[in-house]
């Protein structure tokens, strides 16, 4: 059920909040063995919350997301639920507070269903780096759902929940959305509060949303967006009513195409689908213009310097002192730190901490970190110039469709190259959305990405929605909640 259906059925008395919660819980429990999407399913909490909403029937319908079940990535704090971030070092960690996005979702009437599996500390593009096992793609369970927010993407794709939260540092919302055939939004840097999100790359991280359609994504972002005094990086910028912008109007809109990103390394089916989407926009009245992003080809290199440098600093807090696991029987403090981190972190997290420590180490700072920040500035400039000529840029979201579990685990660099289309938005701080735009010959979903100037989420939602109306994505995964269409 999408949000509109839930609203209609509640209004018509066919369902109450408890029935909505029971349905979602049943689906989550039934499919979890197959998909591994949830690390914790909060049956008691979800039913108690539904009871509150049913008891408050007078006030509830006015809430934007009344009785909507939501799944939350495990690196976002929900009081009373675990927050392992997919890491063994935070096994059994129960945060004592709610993230701001959770407070806002609760105020809007949602039911938090549980916490979803993810790559450890959001580091990965396949969800295979979780300490708690992989997530499987609902379209083909031999394949990855993408990452790092793989559990949230799979839960929405399998229609267990209509919306879910993820975090996107280099594509961790858009890439799994694309691989799972759903909508994923990464907002402008500073749009959504990160208070209560486990930090990975602080100049890159944004919380984003997954939904089965653009309207639900727009509604969810309207609820969580906006300045938060508890996150100094949130900007004082008014949040528009995104849903009211979904007019379908494309006359006069300008879509930019960076042709150099449609070359080598791009799967033929993905290329054909995105090129077809460009033709759909043309048919809807948009003007298609060529744009250049000459520094985009350096984005992965820039990203893996900046993201790992920031991660090595952010992850220094996991030391076995204040929360999380601690290695037993260490004789000294230093030994305790090292053994705790050796036992608690997985291989990809160690690799990134090592790389980040290296690029920041004495004598190397200018050569790597400073150099990367300069190229980042050049990339930002590329986008600023491109957005003088167009309202949004279209690219594939990912170079290929979902790959097989284990296919890329031995080659970290090959795995990183999955993010080639998505990391640019995080580096430039701009918003991006991934929208399903077809199926491959192997029956796997393909996503296209729209990128916009800072704070242009309204435009991205309008363009995405116009496409969705013109080319509805009716295909469904093979693993899905019972009774869902």
């Amino acid at each position: 059920m999408n949000i509109e259906t839930i609203k209609t059925r509640l209004a018509g008395g066919e369902l109450d909040a408890r029935a909505v919660a029971e349905r979602a819980l049943g689906a989550a429990e039934e499919l979890n063995e197959t998909l591994g999407a949830f690390l914790q399913i909060d049956r008691a909490g979800a039913l108690a919350r539904a009871g509150e909403l049913d008891a408050d029937r007078g006030a509830s319908p006015a809430r934007a997301l009344n009785s909507v079940p939501v799944a939350v990535k495990d690196n976002i704090c929900v009081r009373g639920l675990q927050a392992s971030s997919g890491s063994a070092i935070l096994r059994d960690y129960y945060p004592p507070y709610n993230a701001t996005v959770i407070e806002r979702l609760r105020a809007a009437g949602t039911i938090i269903l549980g916490k979803t599996n993810c790559d450890e500390f959001a580091m990965g593009s396949s969800n295979e780096n979780s300490a708690y096992g992989p997530v499987r793609n609902p379209w083909d369970t031999k394949r990855v759902p993408g990452g790092s927010s793989g559990g949230s993407a799979a839960a929405v794709a399998a229609r267990i929940v209509p919306i879910a939260l993820g975090s996107d540092t280099g594509g961790s919302v858009r890439q799994p959305a694309s691989l799972c055939g759903i909508v994923g939004v990464k907002p402008t840097y500073g749009r959504v509060s990160r208070y209560g999100l486990a930090a990975f790359g602080s100049s890159l991280d944004q919380i984003g949303v997954f939904a089965t359609n653009t309207t639900d994504a727009a509604l969810a972002l309207s609820v969580i967006a906006g300045r938060d005094p508890r996150d100094a990086t949130t900007a004082d910028v008014a949040v528009p009513d995104y849903v009211s912008q979904l007019t379908g109007e494309m006359q006069g809109a300008r879509i930019g195409v960076p042709r150099e990103l449609f070359g080598e390394g791009l799967d033929a089916d993905v290329r054909a689908s995105v090129l077809a989407a460009i033709e759909t926009y043309r048919a809807l009245g948009a003007e298609v213009v060529d744009v250049e992003l000459p520094h985009a080809k350096y984005a992965i290199a820039v990203y893996y310097i900046i993201a790992t440098a920031e991660a090595s600093s952010n992850l220094a807090r996991y030391d076995g002192v204040r929360y999380g696991c601690r290695a037993e029987e260490s004789r000294t403090l230093r030994e305790m730190y090292r053994r705790t981190r050796e036992e608690g972190f997985g291989v990809e997290v160690k690799r990134r901490i090592m790389l980040g420590t290296y690029v920041l180490s004495s004598g190397y700072y200018d050569a790597y970190y400073l150099k990367a920040q300069k190229v980042r500035a050049l990339l930002k400039q590329d986008f600023a110039r491109a957005f003088e000529r167009c309202d949004a840029i279209i690219t594939p979201t990912t170079p290929t469709t979902a790959f097989l579990l284990g296919e890329k685990t031995d080659d970290p660099l090959a795995m990183y190259l999955n993010d080639v289309y998505t990391v640019t938005a995080n580096l430039a701080g701009i918003p991006g959305i991934s929208v399903p735009c077809g199926l491959s010959q192997t029956n796997l979903p393909i996503g296209m990405q729209l990128l916009g100037a800072h704070w242009s989420e309204s435009t991205l939602f309008r363009f995405a929605h116009a496409y969705e109306r013109a080319q509805p994505f009716d295909a469904r995964p093979s693993v899905m909640a019972k009774g869902e269409a």
């Binding site: 004082d236 204040r322 790389l355 300069k374 800072h454």
Partner: protein
Amino acid sequence: MPITESDIEKIAALAQLELTDEERRALTPQIASIVNYVEQLNELDTSAAEPALGGLTGEGARTDAAREDAPLPSLGQTLALDQAPDPAAGHFRVPKVL
């Protein structure tokens, strides 16, 4: 300059990681290959570029993020210690420092 196992050992010490021999052997060529990849940035002339440190958006940079300097309620001792691996008498207990 090629990255050696002894470089990896030094970096691990800086990062407070205690790698096994196997991990060190596996990580050395991987880190070397990633470093080699990121060094493609050297082909770019960035002498005229200002590094993008902070201020990703103009609006973010203009937002006054400082709040009034006034005491607010905090977690409190009980809750702050609630998740500690080894709390003792209102403190976080750790092994000896020296």
